[in-house]
Each structure stands twice: as structure tokens, then as C-alpha cells.
């Protein structure tokens, strides 16, 4: 097709469309970036008055005191959910990547995608009916951690699968050429090669667990005290509860704690996301 110079008027209109289009794109970005910055600003500003050493050294005393119980509680719940979900999710991801070409694999893939779309409150209600009431565990670490685990397993599985798929087949073949068994190839060659991707999956699941609220209200309950090591029949505190519940109190100290908890949650999510980026950057050199 021969190049032809367009007519000036036509070009003017095209330039205008371009200018409008690009401004629209910039505006869209600003519309999205501004609320995020505002959220960060609001929470940092309001959390400031609650920040002191006692925040990290004391448990919630009524509606004042610190957040130690909530911080450790969130850590326990997240650790618990990962201990349950990581083996299941990662092994599922291994299965999907290495053997999941058949009907069973695609069914699992499909189910796990659907499971990520199930609202967390529905899972919370399910756990409330089955674990808290049905099995009589009451509000507990176990009920909370299992609920979170059900939420994050599909993420872990799919992200692990993705990471394993990126491992070049040559590596696998090299393993077999050395006489390794299938299991050894997977455990010693494929998974280590995909480790940054798997770690990414774990970090992202951690971020999801840290920020979850609705399903925990009816599974983990809340406690003013440090976890005493019991898995059932003992409620546990967590940061998102403080945000949701303490903002509803008539005391300024409670509001400050709510914002401090929000700050810690956001900070954790931020750090985890930065971790993901560093991992991914190490994997793929900057381009």
C-alpha cells in the first residue's frame, strides 16, 4: 500500500482524537492512583497518634493498650493457613503442571478458578456451620486457618502451576538423561527451578490472608489476649477485626487503634508485594 499524506483536516481530527485518548488514559490512571494515595495518607495520618512502643508490646486492654495480641494472632492465623494450604496448593500446582493434561486436570483447574471467585463471606458461613457449630470447635485458630486455607489454596495451585510451566523442558529431559526417577526430577530439578515463582505464590497468598475480615469474624472470633497454643475452643485476635470493630466505639483511643491496625495491615501488604517484585525481578532481568 503506497504511503499517502492524509488531508490536513483529517489529520487535525486524528491528532485531536489522539490527544483526547491519551488524556483519557492519564486521567483514568490518576482516578485510580489518587484514591490509593489518599488511603495511604488517611491511614498514616490517623494512625500516627496511636504509634508508640506499647502498640507492639501490650495486648489490647479493653479498647486501649496495644495490638500485640492482634499482631501475633494475625501471624498465627496466616501461618496456620499457609501450613495447611501451602503443601496442598503447591502439590496441586505440581500435579497440574506435570500431569494435569487430562480431564481430571482441567476439572481441577476449573474448580480452583471457580473457588477463587466464591465470596469469602460464603466460605466463612460454610465454616461457621460446619466447623464452629457442626464439629463444635467454637471460635478458634483451626476454624479460621482452615477457612483462610480454602481461600488461598486455589491461588497457590494456579500460581505454582504457572511457575512450573515456565521451567524449560530441557531441564526435565536433562534430569531423566541422568537416570533420575520422575519424582526426583520434579522434587530436585523442576520445583527448585521454579522456586521464585512458588515463593511469589506463597507471598501473595499471605497478603490475601493478612487482609481478610469477613470469614474470620464468624470463625476465629476475637481475643484480647495472646494465643495460648490451643487449636480449637479458643478464639484469637487479628488485625482486621480491630479495624472493623474498634471504629464502632465511642472512644478516641479505639479509633486510633483501628487506624493503627489498618496501617499495619497495609504495611504488611506493601512489604509482601515489594517482596514479590524483587523475586520476579531476580528471575527475569530488567528489560
Amino acid at each position: 500500500m503506497p504511503l499517502r499524506a492524509p488531508k490536513p483536516l483529517w489529520r487535525g481530527r486524528r491528532t485531536l482524537a489522539g490527544v483526547l485518548g491519551w488524556s483519557g488514559a492519564v486521567l483514568a490512571f490518576v482516578l485510580v492512583a489518587f484514591p490509593l494515595l489518599d488511603i495511604l495518607y488517611l491511614i498514616t495520618r490517623r494512625a500516627f497518634s496511636a504509634f508508640s512502643l506499647t502498640l507492639f508490646t501490650q495486648v489490647t486492654n479493653g479498647i486501649s493498650g496495644g495490638l500485640l495480641n492482634a499482631i501475633t494472632g494475625t501471624a498465627v492465623l496466616v501461618a496456620g493457613s499457609l501450613i495447611i494450604a501451602a503443601p496442598v496448593g503447591i502439590l496441586t500446582g505440581v500435579y497440574l503442571a506435570e500431569f494435569g493434561h487430562g480431564r481430571f486436570g482441567s476439572t481441577v483447574r476449573f474448580c480452583s478458578d471457580v473457588l477463587t471467585g466464591v465470596p469469602s463471606i460464603v466460605l466463612g458461613y460454610f465454616s461457621y456451620v460446619t466447623l464452629v457449630i457442626g464439629l463444635g470447635w467454637q471460635f478458634s485458630v483451626m476454624a479460621g486457618a482452615i477457612t483462610l486455607a480454602i481461600m488461598i489454596v486455589p491461588y497457590l495451585a494456579r500460581l505454582t502451576e504457572l511457575a512450573l510451566q515456565r521451567v524449560p523442558n530441557g531441564l526435565r529431559e536433562a534430569g531423566y538423561a541422568l537416570g533420575m526417577r520422575e519424582a526426583t526430577v520434579i522434587a530436585r530439578v523442576v520445583v527448585p527451578a521454579a522456586l521464585p515463582g512458588v515463593l511469589t505464590a506463597v507471598l501473595l497468598s499471605t497478603a490475601i490472608s493478612v487482609g481478610e475480615t469477613a470469614p474470620l469474624i464468624y470463625t476465629a472470633g476475637w481475643s484480647n489476649y495472646l494465643w495460648n497454643g490451643r487449636f480449637t475452643h479458643e478464639p484469637i485476635g487479628y488485625l482486621t477485626y480491630v479495624i472493623w470493630s474498634f471504629i464502632n466505639q465511642p472512644f478516641a483511643s479505639a479509633h486510633a487503634l483501628a487506624f493503627a491496625a489498618a496501617f499495619l495491615v497495609i504495611a504488611a501488604v506493601l512489604v509482601l508485594n515489594i517482596g514479590v517484585h524483587l523475586l520476579l525481578r531476580r528471575k527475569v532481568p530488567a528489560h
Binding site: L3, R4, R14, A17, G18, G21, W22, G24, A25, V26, F29, L31, V32, P35, L36, D38, L42, I43, P87, T92, V94, G100, H101, F104, V108, C111, D113, V114, L115, G117, V118, P119, S120, I121, V122, Y125, F126, Y128, V129, T130, V153, P154, A157, R181, E182, A183, G211, A214, Y218, T240, I243, W244, I247, A258, F259, A262, I266, V269, L270, L272
Partner: protein
């Protein structure tokens, strides 16, 4: 499944493969378990409520202090009626409005991130959007409560009414900021990162040759994006939008804190209070527990089951669309 193997090795394999299959089966099993348990638990409510559940506008626990009565073979509080039309409408309306806002914004964001922004800044700017996806729901609620609600009540609501008052849905009292508009805005903010990330990835997969060919034909940079790249990413856009819809339908805490929690009536305009199914479950379990006959809690489980069904269907639709895109890409 991979190639012929000796019987010896087959035996060796079977142990850990069975283990893997067993673990892998947990995902479909838990999905199945959620369905079965919610279904079983809510079965008495399903039988009692019948079709009224879907078409009734009134949710009333009845008189919990009077002695319960027997109705249609079930023991329920006097005057109890469980209709969820208002919550279904609130859920669908808020999600659709959120999507109507989020899709164009996401396209803009995706285009900006993949083509518009200076290449050096792109990773940092993308990170901002990714972070938005990581902000927990309850923090959005906190922000909505402290910042968005006053803004909608004092500025955005009156402004929209002034500009679009000629459209019936934008007319009428602006109210206090708690309502459909605020819920939709928060939901939009929450689904933009999902859609934008998917579309950005799809845009980045457009082959360089095609872009170069378009430039060769004299297309401007914006025309390459709008006439060539976006159309190629259409399937992704649709799939991602439906995924976003799925997320919006089930969102709980943030909506609970800004939606105004309407009971028994449909919103008269875009500023009016609404309730969504998810936020209603979260806020009403407490009251339902006061019903000694247990029918209220089972009816809430029926809402959870309905929400489960809707989100599963929406996700299946999204996956089918994205799957089809995948198929064409491979072809």
C-alpha cells in the same frame, strides 16, 4: 500419562502419583462440600420459602417474642417472611454500575501502563495499580466511611444531580452518601486492578509485527492502540470484566460500610441506600440467631447458597470466554 514406562517404574510412580491426585482432589472436593453443606443446611428454608424467596421484597424475622406458629409444615415466628429481591437487586445494580465505571477506567489504565507511560516509570506505576488490588476490603470500607461518604454527600452527589438530573435515576434526594453510588464507586476501585492487569497483559502480548504493520500504514500511536491492539484484546477485556463482576458480586466488608443497608425497598435513585447479598449475610447473622426456630439462620444460608450459585455461574462464564481466547491464541 507421559510415554511408555516399565512396569517396575509404574509401581514406583503410583504411590506418589496417587498422593498427588488425592491432594489435588481436595480443591474440587471443598467446592463440592461448600455446595452440599450450604444446600443441606438451608433445605428447610428452601422448602418453606419456595419461590417467594426470589420475588419477595420483604425480609422480616417476624415476632420473635410471640410463640411461633406452624406454617406450610414448618415452625416459624409469627409474621416471618424471607424475600431477598431487594438484596439481589442491590447486588446486581451495584456490581453493574461498578463495572460500567471500572471497564473504561481499566482500559485507560491498561493503555497508559502498557503504551502511554514513560517506559522507565512503567514498573513503578504498575506497582501502584497492583497494590490497589492488595488493599484489604475492610480498609476500603474505612476509607469509604471517612473520606468517600462525605465527598459523595457534599460534592459528587449534588454535582451528578445537577448535571444529569434530567435522567430519572439521577433525580431526587441525594441523601447522606450512604448508598448505591458510594458502594459502586468502592466496588469499581476494587475491580479496576483485576481488569487493568489482565488487559495490560493482553496488550503486551500483541505481536510487535502487527504493531509495526499498523504504524507502517500511517496509523498514529493512539490509533495503533485503539484500532489494532484493543480489538485484539477484546476477549480478554470481556473475560476480565466478568471476573471483575464476580468479585464485585461477592464483596462484603467495604460494601457493608458504605451501602446504607436498605431493607424492604428498592433504591429510588442512584444515591439511594441498597443492601447486597454478601453484606446482608455479614450484618444479619446476629439478628437471625435470635430466632429460636432457626428459620432465619437457614434462610441466610439460602442467601449464601444463592450467592454461591450466582458467582459460580459468573466465573464459569468468564473462564469459558477466557478459555476460548486461549484456544484462538494457540491456533
Amino acid at each position: 500419562m507421559a510415554g511408555p514406562v516399565s512396569e517396575d517404574e509404574m509401581n514406583n510412580r503410583s504411590y506418589y502419583r496417587l498422593l498427588l491426585i488425592g491432594i489435588t482432589a481436595l480443591i474440587p472436593l471443598s467446592l463440592f462440600a461448600v455446595f452440599v453443606f450450604l444446600g443441606t443446611y438451608s433445605w428447610p428454608a428452601i422448602r418453606f420459602n419456595g419461590l417467594h424467596f426470589l420475588i419477595g421484597k420483604t425480609w422480616s424475622l417476624g415476632n420473635l417474642y410471640a410463640n411461633p406458629i406452624t406454617l406450610h409444615g414448618a415452625v416459624v415466628p409469627r409474621g416471618a417472611r424471607y424475600g431477598v429481591l431487594v438484596f439481589v437487586a442491590g447486588t446486581v445494580l451495584s456490581s453493574l454500575i461498578a463495572l460500567a465505571i471500572a471497564v473504561p477506567v481499566s482500559l485507560g489504565v491498561a493503555v497508559f501502563l502498557s503504551e502511554g507511560a514513560p517506559p522507565r516509570l512503567r514498573p513503578a506505576l504498575s506497582f501502584i495499580v497492583e497494590l490497589l488490588a492488595g488493599v484489604p476490603s475492610v480498609v476500603y470500607g474505612l476509607w469509604g466511611f471517612a473520606v468517600l461518604i462525605p465527598f459523595v454527600a457534599a460534592t459528587l452527589g449534588p454535582g451528578l444531580k445537577h448535571l444529569f438530573g434530567w435522567i430519572p435515576f439521577f433525580r431526587g434526594p441525594v441523601g447522606g452518601g450512604y448508598g448505591l453510588l458510594s458502594a459502586s464507586l468502592v466496588l469499581a476501585l476494587m475491580v479496576v486492578p483485576i481488569i487493568a492487569a489482565t488487559v495490560r497483559d493482553a496488550l503486551s502480548k500483541v505481536p510487535l509485527e502487527i504493531k509495526e504493520a499498523a504504524y507502517g500504514l500511517g496509523a498514529s500511536r493512539f490509533e495503533v492502540v485503539s484500532r489494532v491492539m484493543l480489538p485484539m484484546a477484546r476477549a480478554s477485556v470481556i473475560g476480565a470484566s466478568i471476573l471483575g463482576l464476580g468479585r464485585a458480586l461477592g464483596e462484603t466488608m467495604a460494601v457493608l460500610m458504605v451501602s446504607g443497608g436498605a431493607l424492604n425497598y428498592l433504591p429510588g435513585n442512584i444515591y439511594g441506600p441498597v443492601s447486597t447479598m454478601a453484606s446482608f449475610i455479614a450484618s444479619q447473622l446476629d439478628s437471625a440467631l435470635q430466632d429460636p426456630t432457626g428459620m432465619a439462620v437457614r434462610s441466610l444460608a439460602e442467601i449464601a447458597l444463592l450467592l454461591f450459585g450466582i458467582t459460580v455461574l459468573v466465573n464459569i462464564l468468564a473462564r469459558l470466554l477466557i478459555g476460548r481466547k486461549g484456544a484462538t491464541a494457540r491456533a
